[in-house]
Every structure is written in structure tokens, then in C-alpha cells.
């Protein structure tokens, strides 16, 4: 224990002594135990004050010191150093805060003095328990992270880079330059912002030791000064460094959105560059959310892309784009069940885009124009692959593998190719010549087809392997109709839907009854019913056990069926079939009611007792479902693992079966599914087989599998520049013309007639360009240096730095919150940044001042203090507005003959050259009116007055109410903290001041550091300031950081936890408490141990240890107990 304590009490000028009787406190202190000397002085922190302490340490042999003055956060370091120089350990010192925590917050002298005594006493008692401690040192990583690459970040980066040390510069936009890059001229010197900024931007890109990361943000920060570990997320740019900035891609991009860089007053394409001098000078593709239509497609067809191309009347390109990914595009254009449309966001507005019809249109157009597409040149490989089944799954797999060069043979059991496409889907939906067209293309690709080759007979897995096939894809489909399981089902005249369709489609003689019943509600049922009609049936009735709402068939198929005269009985199910002597089939039916939803989500059908009745037909076609042919598992496939449902079991990701080298997909795995789902499986299988043959592990698949999407409702936008779904003007979906019903049933002519060019363009124009880039890949085709890569991924980059500078800038106050100024409602009311862009020669008007009607304004009103110096929004002054408002006035006068009115509260011209500038602008005859504007209103309702405005205000210098007519209003919006500043604050563990800007360590003496060591701030993120102040602060911060880099190490407070081994019982309570995982359990000694390098000294474990075995150095229990006692005298 220390028993020679010196107490030094500061007056702090009069700051302390006005409310605290310093003499009395000194007197009090001198009487406390262990105190050998107590003194007071005007400024303890001054040189003589410190000398006084040091002298006493020497003369009075002090072993501990208390200073009662300001906050330790202000001067603790000063006095620690003084003690050390005086000859005692720097930690044998305690500071008592009698200024911030006493004299400044109280006004009664007796009470304040009493409290000061308690505070001093606590420190005296505490310091008696202090022990000498040695600071620890940590190496400083010389690399620096700078977040935000506006002028502040750029300046600091250049300053530090000059020293040769590495800098990581992280910017969230696609270019550096920040807000300054948007300005036209700067006040008061009127140099052009771009001219002074761009050379600096360019030097950033030239510096080898500056690692620039654009479109990036910091995701995680660990560690402490000297050694931070930072994770940065870099968004994909989709254009690499090969980009030569030739602009060719912009010419072909079909998507236009408002351009953020021009404050949404101009348009740009999805692939774009923020502005011509952007750094890095590479283009960037704006991909926000992935378009849902593309994501929903099992083969990831670029639906949005070809829709956009059709809108631009680039039909050929649209057809080519479709072909690129789709081996069966014509088929899909006609019979796909189009999950893309189901997911289409336009559904939130009114109806989805007719994507499938548009696809069909593009390909029909190409065919009509005689545009034939030749397969690409392929380098052949020797490996052989066998595909069993020529349905959509098999064909897609064969196509993808053939395109990779494999020698692919497709084995088809029937005499015709196409699987269900050929024998399931009737010709009026998919004309045969079109299917042939697809098959011809596949043949040209080098695929060999073997018909009448049934799996299980001559062809078995073993035989194929013996013949040298390295992999087999089993896609035999599901061609066996599921039985109804009722009495009399085997009667003559009963034939399953798939069997019936197959016979008709293959032209096998088959008798169709006159009065036909089809049982089921799926697409097969519809196909069978409509085919029966075309085969001469007079009456076709569909019996379905649920209602229309639950029907799995595509709604338009059901409509078509009904139009053709097919009757549908809902809520009915057959229970028995009996064939009468006259050959008629008596079908006993029962009525159904719907109960609770079952596992599939559809309501469970419940038969109504006693409702049995008999219906009479002469043919019954059950078409409830299909299964794979059970024979598959007997011959040649007997080792295949079979699922409960009679399908082949595969690994969901790789589609691998239980037999090596054998993969399977499509209906034979999924049960009856859709063309596109089968194609997706074929594609995945091809990737698997390719990996398998190349000896790669079956993981990291690139082929697409649609994910669940979250419905978001109409309060959402397709992309960040678009209105909400509910605010988008409605426009009807274009329907497709069809053959009239009476003409249809006469034969197998295609029912749907396709879109005309006009219809297609009209429909395509409804697309909302969700996510901006629609992946039409036009840019890829046009880019000569091959710099575009749509598959680029976001990246996580880990970096290690010693110090961090935040220069994250500001946001502009959104003036639409202050409705009286009409921003966002009235034309020609502009924000300051919008006006800057209008003034800029690279802006939307090329630097011309123009009203919405294209005319030059005759009078302009500039209103100061929008959102700042305003109790309702921000109380602070934004500091730059007066001056840029004057700059605006000057530029207006310079370029037009317009009158300029300035409405100000106080004119603040505090900087170098500002007052002179103010006078100059006054001379240029700008009218200044002192008074806060009440409102901006339209000048009148007539057409002539439209677009003209009136500013109502009080002129406080003449005490008059005034109304000033103008053509344009410019608002001087406040500078406010960025929307993400709370997140950033948290991430870097710093604080914000009450105004929301980042809190500096000291408002006057340390405006660039924060309370967290090693983290600095510069520019407007610390508070509003102009460019010179920003640059100075950034340079100052850089100097601070360079000093520490030069020193190479930092001193860390030795406030750390320590375990006294003999007291630790090994209860391990502390182990899980430590947020830094600094506490481990030593299993051998059965005690916990602390890794001092990881400990940060929070003391949580100290407080939690039931045995009090952990000591918090610098904050020990004894010290705090003593402090408590001392505080309560």
C-alpha cells in the first residue's frame, strides 16, 4: 500500500474554483490518511503545475499522486507522463474529475465542494492500492485503411502513400471522387471542381501502394490499434480491367434508368460509367436484385434479356440469346409451364409479362426470316456417354455434353424421338415439324440417336459400360399411367391417358368412343380430352374430384378445353366401372366435398355418403398421374435403388444414382413433372457427368437450381430507381390470338397463333427491368477486349491494417420532408446538388440553365438553410450553404439574364476570401432578402402560369411580407450524417455526437481522432465543412497516422485480467463470458488461464469469478472497494 500520497487540485482558471472551494478541498485532502502533501494551483496541466507535482514527488518522497482536475479522458495521459518524469511509475496515479462531473454541473458552492471532497477522497483511497504497472507494446502494421474516397479519403490516401506505406482505400460507389466530383465550380475561387479533383483521382489509380477497392464496404472489424483485421465485401463489377472504356457496350444495352450521378435528371444504361473521368475508368454493370424470371427458370434462361431486346425490336438478337442457353427453345416457347411468369414482378402491378409468348415470337420471327442457326465449332473428345430416353431431360443432357465435345448416343425405346414431347403432347400444342427442327439441330451438333432401343433388353448398364460408355444418363421418363384402383378398371374401353395419347400420337390404330370420360385434372387429362375430341368423340366429359381452383392443369389449357366444348364435372370421383352387355360403360360416381388442406396444401376430397350415381360412357380415360415403367427395375436396371413412389433414387445435387457412373433425372426421378424441370435436371446431369469424367469431385455446381423466392408485395420496387409496384401505371397484358374453337377441333392445327411484331413490342414494353441489368448479354457480344463477365461474384477480402480513417462523407437533407418548399411536388424546385449538375458542363443539360419546359428561367430564387438551423430538422448550421448559394448566384448571372433572389437568415462568410466573394456577388446585382421563406407555391392555375412559382417570405430588414415570382427555386439543403452512419459507428466502435456526426476525441484539441484508439475521422462525417477544411482535416489525420507508423509500435494500457492460479477452482464460468475467447481451460492443471495478448481488459470475467481469483489490473476489487468507501464519507 502506498502511504505517501500527494494531492494536487486544479482551479482550471475559474472553471473549477467558481463552484468548488478549492482551498477547502485542499485542506480536507491534507487531513486524509496517507496524504503527505496537498496543494492547489491555477492550471495543474500547465508546465509549472506539472513541475510542482514532480518537485513534490522528489522532495516529499511521494509514492502515489492524485490530481483533481478535469476528465481523465482529457488529461490523464498528461499527468501520467508527469509522474513518470517525476520518478514514480506512471500508474501510481489517479485522476479525480471535479470539473465535468462537479463544478460544471452544479451551482451551489457548498454542495459542489462537498461532492468534490468525496470525489477527491475516493481517489486518495483508491491510489493507496495502486501498484506499479508496465505498459505493453504492440507492433504497428504500417498499412492503413481509409473508408470513403471523397476528397477527404483521397487526400489522406495520397499523403500516406507518399511515405511509401500501403493504403487500402474502400469506396462504396463505382468511382472515387465523392460529392465533390458532382460539383461544377467551387467557392470562393470559382475553380472548376473537376479540374482540381480529377488529377488527384488519377494519382490514386497510379499509386502502386494504394489498393483501391470500389463498390466495396467494410463488413467486419476486429483487433485494436496497430493490428486491425478487416473484412471487406467487394461487389462484383462484372467488367474487369481489360475494359478500354470504348463505350461500345453502352450503345447496345437495352435498359435505361435515371442516372444517379446526375441526381436522376439524365438517363443511363445498365452498363455504365458514373462520369467520363471516373476512377477506376472501367464500366460497371448495375445488377441489383437478380431478375426473378431468370432466377425461377430451372435452366436459367435469360428471360428478362430477350424481353428487353424484343422491346428494342432487336428480334434476331433475342432469338440468338434464347438459343444460347436453351437446347429446346421452340418447344419451350410453346409448352413450357413458364415458372418465369409465375415469379414475374409485374404480377404485383397487374399481370405477369407474357414471357413464353415472347419467346415463341422471337423464334417464330427468326424462322420466318430464314435466320437459321448453325451449331458452333466443337472440339471433339473421345469419351462416350449414353443417354437413355429422348425426352426433354435426355435431350438437354445430350446437348450440353455434345457441346462440350463428348461422343453422345441417345437411346430411344420408341420409333419416334422426343419422349413426352412427341407422344404425350398433342400436335395442336406442339406441331411436329417444329419438334423435328429442334432434333435436327441436335443432330447437327453431333449427337447420334438410336431408335427402337429399349433399355433392359439389348441395352443394359453393364452392356453399355462394356461398350466403352463412361457415363450413363437414365432419363426414361414416366410413361405408365397410374391406375384408379377401382373395380372394372380393366374393362374394354378403359385406357390410361398416356397410353391413349401415345397411340394416337404414334398413329397406332386406336378406337375413340363417341361419349368419352376423362378422369383427372392435370395437363394430361386436358390433352387426352382435347385429343379425343379431335379423334371424333362427340361428347367429352372431364371428371375431377376437386374444384377448378385446385386443378393442376395450366389455366389456359382448361379454358381452351372448355371453349372447344368439353364439359368438366368438378367434385366427383368414379368408384366403379361396369361394362354392360351393349358395350356401354356404367361409371359409378360419388360426389365429393373438400375438407382441410392436405400435405400438398390442396384441400382433401371427402366422398359424400349416399351420393353414388351412375353415368354412362362408351370410353373412359383415367389420366390421374404417371409413373416410370416398372420394368425399368427388372431388366438391366435391377441394381438401381427405387424410391417409395417407384421412381429412381438419386442424390439431389449431383443426380448420381447408387450405381457408379450412372446418373438419372427428369420424370423417371421426379415423377410426372414439367418440360422445363426435366431440362434443368438434364443440364445438371451433364455437369455432373462432365465432372465425373474429368475426375473432379461432385461439388460446386454452377448449373442453376431455382431457389425459393420471398414474395414482397406491392410496397416494393423492381429496382432502386423505379417507383413502387403500386405506383406503376397499369397496362394490360397482351393476349394471344387463337384459332376459333370450331376450327380447332377439326384437326391438329396449332391453336395459338403467335404475336405480331407490334403485339410483341407492346407486351415486352411492360417489363420492369427488375434489378436493372436484364442479362441480355448484348454487351458481352459487342465487347472486343472481352472484359465483361456476367458470372463475376461478390468477394470477401480480408486485410490487415494498423490504423483506420473514416471519411464517409455526408448525405443531403431530403427537402421533401419540408413540404412547404414544394420539393418533389412542384416542377422547377431543385436541390442544391441537382442545380450543381445542371450547371455542370457534363451534366444533364450540358451546363445550360433550363426549366422543365425547356426555356431559360427569367428569375431564380435561392433559399438558404433548408433543413439546417431549423428546430424541426437539424439545429446546426451546415456551414457551406451561404457560400455555395452566392456561387450559384454568380454563375446564374454569368450565364443568363435571370434575376437572382437570395433568401437568407444570416449571411455567414467566415472563411478566407469569403467576405470578399460575398461583396463581389452583391455588386453583381444579386438581390438578397433577409428572412426565412414561408412557402413556395405555384403562381396560378392557368396554363400560362404553369411551371411558374411564387416565393412567400418575410423581409425582416424592412418588416414586410413579400411575394416574389420566379421560374426556378434552388434549395440549399442541409448536410446531414449519412443514412448508414449508425451502422458504421457500430462497426468501428466509435460514437456519434448529438447531431449525428461522428464524435471526435476532443472538439478543439483532437478533432481527427476518436475515443477508439487507431480510428480517425475526417471530412463531413465529423461535421459539415467546406473543401479546404476537409482537406486540412484529412491531411492532419494522415499526419497523425504517419507518426504512429513511423514509431512502429503503440503503447497499450496494461489494464488486463490475470488469474491467480491458487485461487482458481476450475469452475470455467469465465470461459464462456469472454467476448475475445481469451480464456482457456488448462485440462491438466484444471484451472482457467488467460491469454493476455487477446484480453482487452473489460473486466467481465473479473466480476463473474465466484472465487475472486481473477484480478483486473488497474481496476482491482480493492481499488474499487476503496474508491466506494472514499466516495461515501
Amino acid at each position: 500500500m502506498n502511504n505517501r500520497i500527494g494531492v494536487f487540485i486544479c482551479h482550471c482558471g475559474v472553471n473549477i474554483s467558481t463552484t468548488v472551494d478549492v482551498e477547502e478541498v485542499t485542506e480536507f485532502a491534507s487531513k486524509q490518511p496517507n496524504v503527505v502533501v496537498a496543494r492547489n494551483y491555477k492550471f495543474m496541466c500547465s508546465e509549472p503545475g506539472q513541475a510542482m507535482i514532480q518537485k513534490d514527488i522528489g522532495e516529499n518522497h511521494l509514492d502515489a499522486v492524485v490530481v483533481a482536475a478535469c476528465s481523465p479522458q482529457m488529461h490523464e495521459l498528461t499527468f501520467r507522463n508527469a509522474c513518470e518524469e517525476g520518478g514514480i511509475n506512471r500508474y501510481l496515479f489517479q485522476m479525480s474529475n471535479i470539473r465535468e462531473h462537479c463544478s460544471w454541473i452544479h451551482d451551489k458552492k457548498t454542495a459542489a465542494t462537498q461532492k468534490a471532497e468525496a470525489l477527491v477522497n475516493a481517489a486518495i483511497r483508491r491510489v493507496a492500492w495502486h501498484e506499479p504497472l508496465e505498459p505493453t507494446f504492440s507492433e504497428v502494421n504500417p498499412a492503413t485503411l481509409i473508408v470513403g474516397a471523397g476528397i477527404a479519403g483521397i487526400q489522406a490516401a495520397l499523403e500516406i502513400a507518399e511515405s511509401g506505406n500501403p493504403v487500402y482505400l474502400v469506396e462504396k460507389e463505382s468511382t472515387i471522387g465523392g460529392k465533390m466530383a458532382k460539383f461544377d465550380k467551387t467557392f470562393p475561387t470559382l475553380d472548376c471542381a473537376a479540374c482540381i479533383l480529377t488529377p488527384k483521382m488519377v494519382s490514386i489509380s497510379h499509386r502502386k501502394n494504394i489498393h483501391l477497392m470500389t463498390m466495396a464496404h467494410v463488413e467486419k472489424v476486429d483487433g485494436f490499434i496497430g493490428n486491425f483485421k478487416v473484412t471487406v465485401r467487394k461487389k462484383a463489377r462484372y467488367v474487369n480491367e481489360k475494359c478500354t472504356s470504348c463505350n461500345d457496350c453502352v450503345d447496345v444495352c437495352p435498359v435505361k434508368v435515371p442516372h444517379y450521378f446526375d441526381e436522376y435528371h439524365s438517363e443511363r444504361t445498365a452498363i455504365h460509367k458514373a462520369f467520363p473521368q471516373a476512377v477506376p475508368n472501367t464500366y460497371v454493370i448495375d445488377k441489383q436484385e437478380k431478375p426473378p424470371c431468370i432466377e425461377a427458370c430451372p435452366i436459367r434462361q435469360e428471360a428478362a434479356g430477350y424481353v428487353a431486346l424484343i422491346r428494342e425490336r432487336r428480334f434476331k438478337e433475342a432469338a440468338e440469346l434464347i438459343r444460347l442457353r436453351n437446347p429446346l427453345p421452340v418447344v419451350c416457347g410453346r409448352v413450357c409451364y413458364h415458372p418465369c411468369e409465375t415469379e414475374c414482378n409485374r404480377d404485383y402491378v397487374e399481370k405477369p409479362i407474357a414471357i413464353q409468348y415472347l419467346k415463341r415470337f422471337a423464334l417464330d420471327w427468326a424462322r420466318e426470316q430464314g435466320e437459321s442457326i448453325e451449331p458452333p465449332k466443337i472440339e471433339r473428345r473421345a469419351e462416350k456417354v449414353a443417354v437413355i430416353g429422348s425426352g426433354p431431360a435426355g435431350l438437354t443432357c445430350a446437348h450440353d455434353l455434345a457441346a462440350k465435345g463428348y461422343d453422345v448416343a441417345v437411346f430411344e425405346k420408341l420409333s419416334e424421338l422426343g419422349g413426352m414431347l412427341r407422344v404425350g403432347i398433342p400436335a395442336y400444342r406442339l406441331p411436329r415439324h417444329l419438334l423435328k427442327e429442334e432434333l435436327d439441330y441436335l443432330k447437327k451438333l453431333g449427337i447420334t440417336f438410336k431408335m427402337n432401343a429399349e433399355f433392359g433388353k439389348k441395352i443394359t448398364i453393364n452392356r453399355l459400360k462394356e461398350e466403352g460408355y463412361q457415363a450413363i444418363f437414365l432419363a426414361a421418363g414416366a410413361h405408365a399411367g397410374v391406375t384408379l384402383d377401382i373395380l372394372g378398371e380393366g374393362s374394354e374401353g378403359v385406357i390410361s391417358g398416356v397410353d391413349y395419347l401415345r397411340r394416337v400420337n404414334l398413329g397406332i390404330e386406336s378406337h375413340t368412343g363417341r361419349n368419352v370420360a376423362v378422369i383427372g385434372g392435370g395437363n394430361t387429362a386436358m390433352d387426352a380430352a382435347r385429343t379425343a375430341l379431335r379423334e371424333g368423340a362427340e361428347k367429352v366429359t372431364i371428371l375431377y374430384r376437386r374444384t377448378r381452383a385446385e386443378m393442376p392443369a395450366a389455366p389456359h389449357e382448361v379454358d381452351d378445353a372448355e371453349e372447344e366444348g368439353i364439359r368438366i364435372h368438378y367434385l366427383i370421383a368414379p368408384t366403379a366401372i361396369a361394362r354392360g352387355p351393349d358395350g356401354k360403360l356404367d361409371v359409378t360416381c360419388i360426389n365429393i366435398e373438400l375438407g382441410e388442406p392436405d400435405a400438398s396444401g390442396r384441400r382433401r376430397p371427402i366422398p359424400i355418403k349416399g351420393s353414388e350415381h351412375v353415368l354412362e360412357f362408351d370410353m373412359v380415360i383415367p389420366a390421374i398421374s404417371q409413373n416410370p415403367d416398372p420394368k425399368l427395375f427388372s431388366n438391366g436396371g435391377d441394381q438401381l435403388k427405387k424410391s417409395r413412389w417407384g421412381t429412381i433414387e438419386v442424390d439431389e445435387e449431383s443426380l448420381k444414382t447408387n450405381i457408379d457412373g450412372v446418373f438419372s433425372g427428369g420424370d423417371v426421378v421426379l415423377g410426372p413433372s414439367t418440360v422445363i424441370a426435366s431440362m434443368g435436371a438434364g443440364r445438371r446431369a451433364a455437369e455432373s457427368i462432365d465432372k465425373c469424367i474429368n475426375g473432379q469431385p461432385l461439388e460446386n455446381f454452377q448449373t442453376h437450381m431455382p431457389k425459393e423466392r420471398i414474395a414482397r408485395g406491392e410496397d416494393f420496387r423492381p429496382h432502386s430507381y423505379a417507383p413502387m409496384f403500386k405506383d406503376i401505371p397499369k397496362s394490360d397484358r397482351v393476349g394471344m390470338r387463337k384459332l376459333p374453337a370450331h376450327a380447332r377441333v377439326k384437326g391438329y392445327d396449332e391453336v395459338e397463333l403467335g404475336f405480331s411484331e407490334e403485339e410483341a413490342v407492346r407486351e415486352a414494353s411492360r417489363c420492369l427491368n427488375c434489378g436493372v441489368c436484364v442479362e441480355c448479354l448484348a454487351c458481352v457480344k459487342t465487347c472486343q477486349p472481352e472484359a465483361i463477365d456476367h458470372r463475376m461474384q461478390n468477394e470477401l477480402v480480408d486485410i490487415e491494417v494498423g490504423q483506420i480513417l473514416l471519411a464517409t462523407g455526408y448525405d443531403l437533407f431530403d427537402a421533401s420532408h419540408a413540404a412547404q418548399f414544394g420539393y418533389g411536388k412542384l416542377d422547377n424546385v431543385l436541390s442544391s446538388l441537382e442545380f450543381e449538375r445542371m450547371l455542370s458542363s457534363t451534366g444533364p443539360t450540358g451546363g445550360k440553365l433550363l426549366c422543365k419546359n425547356g426555356k431559360e428561367p427569367r428569375a431564380i430564387g435561392i433559399i438558404h438553410c433548408i433543413g439546417s438551423r431549423d428546430e424541426n430538422y437539424h439545429k446546426y448550421c451546415s456551414r457551406v450553404c451561404c457560400m455555395y448559394a452566392l456561387k450559384f448566384a454568380h454563375l446564374v448571372k454569368d450565364r443568363t439574364d435571370a434575376e437572382v433572389y437570395q433568401f437568407y437568415i444570416d449571411m455567414r462568410a467566415y472563411g478566407k476570401g469569403f467576405e470578399e466573394f460575398y461583396n463581389r456577388v452583391l455588386m453583381e446585382a444579386a438581390t438578397v432578402i433577409r428572412g426565412k421563406v414561408a412557402e413556395v407555391v405555384p403562381s396560378g392555375p392557368t396554363l400560362k402560369e404553369q411551371g411558374h412559382l411564387v416565393i412567400r417570405c418575410e423581409d425582416t430588414l424592412v418588416s414586410k411580407f413579400r411575394e416574389i415570382p420566379v421560374d426556378m427555386v434552388v434549395l440549399c439543403n442541409a448536410i446531414e450524417p449519412t443514412a448508414d452512419s449508425e451502422d458504421i459507428r457500430r462497426l468501428f466502435s466509435i460514437s456519434r455526437s448529438p447531431d449525428g456526426f461522428y464524435l471526435e476525441r476532443h472538439p478543439k484539441l483532437d478533432p481527427t481522432a476518436t475515443m477508439t484508439d487507431g480510428i480517425y475521422i475526417a471530412g463531413c462525417c465529423q461535421g459539415p465543412k467546406d473543401i479546404p477544411d476537409t482537406v486540412s482535416q484529412a491531411a492532419g489525420a494522415a499526419a497523425r497516422m504517419l507518426a504512429i507508423i513511423a514509431k512502429g509500435k503503440v503503447e497499450l494500457d496494461p489494464i488486463r485480467a490475470e488469474i491467480q492460479e491458487e485461487l482458481c477452482s476450475g469452475c470455467r464460468i469465465c470461459n464462456s463470458l469472454c467476448p475475445y475467447f481469451a480464456i482457456d481451460f488448462d485440462a491438466e492443471k484444471k484451472i482457467s488461464i488467460i491469454n493476455t495478448a487477446l484480453c482487452k481488459g473489460c473486466g467481465t470475467c473479473v466480476a463473474a469469478c465466484p472465487a475472486a481469483a481473477i484480478t483486473g489490473k488497474g481496476f482491482t476489487n480493492n481499488q474499487i472497494f476503496a474508491e466506494i468507501e472514499g466516495m461515501l464519507v
Partner: protein, 145 residues
């Protein structure tokens, strides 16, 4: 009981609440002189024994100030502090001590007003509760180590 001025001890974490209290000083916000702050690195350092010791040594109330949830400089010390405070309040109540004598508050470095408000409010509450009469307690001795 007129003229009773309670003594309240405040354990303030270095990063948020202590800085908030400093800002209150810098902003010259006036508040009653009854609250006496003790700086700790984190509210998680506040050992339940500190609180008991404070009461035993004559405090009429104890305030614990920490960073807002999610803001603790050491990630989660404030959650631990909250857990301990709630537990202590239950224990105090069993001992016949009004649980309002122990209070935990989240005060950030910028919330000077909030700090001043809490100080005024707590002073008033504890003043109304009157002096903490500890005679019923055994003379609490807390081991020094």
C-alpha cells in the same frame, strides 16, 4: 425526514456512459449533486459485490451506466451487467431493500441530456424512498483482496 439528501453511487463505463457524463459537463447541464461517479472500463466489470459494498458503506442508491445494447465496446459486457443487475434487484428486495435503489441505464457518449435526466430522476426517487436503513443487516463485511 425533510432535508434528507441521498448519496448515490454511479458506476459508469468508460466508453459510453462516462463520456456521456463528461459531455453533460461540457454542455454545462445542471443536475443535483447527489450522484458520484466511479469509472469502470465496462459495465460488465461491475461486480455484484461493488453494489452490496456501496450499500453497506452508506449509499442510498446505486446507478450502473453502460452502452446501449449492441454498442458495448467489449461486445456484450452490458448484457452481463443487465443480468447481474436484475438478479441483484431480486436479492435486494428479499432483503427488504426497495429494488428501485439499484438502477441500470444505457447512456451513450452523446446522450448528455439523458444522463442529466437519469441523475435528476434517480435522485428524486431515492430521496422519496428515504435513507437506506441498513441496521437490520448484519454488518456486511466484504472480504478485501
Amino acid at each position: 425526514m425533510s432535508g434528507f439528501e441521498p448519496k448515490i453511487l454511479a458506476f459508469l463505463c468508460n466508453w459510453c456512459s462516462y463520456s456521456g457524463a463528461d459531455l453533460a459537463g461540457v454542455s454545462r447541464l445542471k443536475m443535483p449533486p447527489n450522484v458520484r461517479p466511479i469509472r469502470v472500463m465496462c459495465s460488465g466489470r461491475v461486480d455484484p459485490a461493488f453494489v452490496l459494498k456501496a450499500f453497506a458503506s452508506g449509499a442510498d442508491g446505486v446507478l450502473i451506466g453502460g452502452c446501449h445494447p449492441g454498442d458495448c465496446h467489449y461486445a456484450e459486457g452490458n448484457y452481463k451487467a443487465l443480468r447481474r443487475a436484475l438478479f441483484l434487484q431480486r436479492m435486494l428486495e428479499l432483503q427488504g431493500v426497495d429494488p428501485r435503489r439499484l438502477r441500470i441505464e444505457w447512456i451513450s457518449a452523446s446522450e448528455a441530456d439523458r444522463y442529466a435526466g437519469v441523475v435528476a430522476d434517480m435522485t428524486e426517487i431515492v430521496r422519496a424512498l428515504g435513507p437506506l436503513n441498513l441496521d437490520r443487516w448484519e454488518k456486511v463485511r466484504i472480504r478485501k483482496r
